[in-house]
Symmetry: C2
Subunit: 228 residues, 2 copies
């Protein structure tokens, strides 16, 4: 079975200094669960951060109809429960041992003490997450650029017809909402709008968009051309 | 021009409590730059976190040949310089006013003091970033599931032919590296491997993969079927 091994091999902790790792090792508790055993239940106080050490952990919710919906299966090195613990909220889902497993548990209280002693511990973790977010955003942009421009073009043409608005379309949802609708993130949506603007397909004025080249948008929507 | 307005409207600070926002307001310095003016230069000490308040900021690098490469254009509410500041490293790129702009500056020193006083400030920011990472990972999975299974199938068939290995293929790169190669993240790659395993296309034993159904993999690689 895989094992995450030392604390410095846990991605969330990869930038910590040795003294910070020692502080964490002080508050760390190893817990063992047998397959199917409950680790925590939705609604429990988010009292700490867990990291899978050995085996696998299942995160799930039970629907109102009583059906189990698996959200994640986490293996060695993966943290879980961390959002609730950081936010000081209750767990939004339940966790159960998917196989016999060992998890590392860091209590919220102990963690806060470590950060009080050395705030840069939290900063190093913020750096890890920020770096990962940048990488993820770049990947989403990469993946989105294939299809999102076409979907956006189709959406703009639809709005123009629906409202009988002609070539002047008003976006009535926030950029975050529109991005989610198109399957991307606001940063990428902004870039695509800027590109379409530069290519003379549209002219963006705040939330009003002028369709300068409906035929070009049509080609984009039908996948006959790509946005370059 | 857009404006990010109050501190609580900055996504990175959205979960902070009012007292924490007041602490940050104490250390905040507003800085104004005219279009084209340098904000910081690659290699400068990452002495603080910036947030665009008004206007736009360009993040760029200069190639060895002297060519400018724009990495990002950030608008109101976007933080920049935060990775270097959290990590206590020098800035990996330069920042310049892309339009006349106003930025909010929070020094690393001041920030550390705020966190020392109230560690949960850092925890609330960790919660925001963790939540965003989960959302991004789900989106990447969503986007990847369309094409990555086919690319992975093609890669497995290629390995099987290249090595004359028959139906027993050994992955000689890490899962992280293979994920990057296929344009996804390790979490999604693991799920795809598990799905292929469940469908009887392959059998995964650590880094050794048995190709149980080469014809099925062929169909997947050629886009004739989708992984469901």
């Amino acid at each position: 079975m895989d094992r995450c091994g030392r604390l410095e091999d846990i991605p969330l902790f990869e930038d910590l200094e040795s003294e910070q790792l020692q502080d964490l090792a002080q508050i760390l508790k190893k817990q063992n669960f047998t397959r199917g055993q409950r680790i925590f239940t939705e609604g429990d106080e988010g009292n700490g951060l867990y990291v899978v050490d050995l085996g696998q952990v299942k995160i799930f919710k039970i629907s109102p109809a009583g059906k189990e919906q698996i959200l994640h299966i986490f293996g060695p090195g993966n943290p879980f429960g961390e959002i609730a613990m950081f936010a000081g909220e209750s767990f939004p889902a339940s966790a159960e041992a998917f196989t016999d497993c060992q998890v590392l548990f860091f209590s919220r209280h102990g963690f806060l003490e470590c950060v009080r002693k050395d705030p840069s511990l939290a900063f190093n973790m913020l750096a890890v997450l920020s770096r990962r977010l940048r990488k993820f955003a770049a990947l989403i942009e990469d993946l989105s650029l294939k299809e999102v421009p076409g979907r956006l073009a189709a959406h703009l043409l639809y709005l123009s017809e629906k409202d009988g608005a002609g070539d002047k379309v008003k976006l009535e949802v926030s950029k975050g909402h529109l991005a989610a609708l198109l399957g991307t993130i606001p940063e990428t949506l902004s870039r695509i709008l800027a590109k379409m603007n530069r290519q003379g397909l549209i002219e963006v004025n705040g939330s009003t968009i002028l369709l300068l080249d409906p035929d070009g948008l049509e080609d984009l929507a039908e996948g006959e051309v790509k946005l370059t």
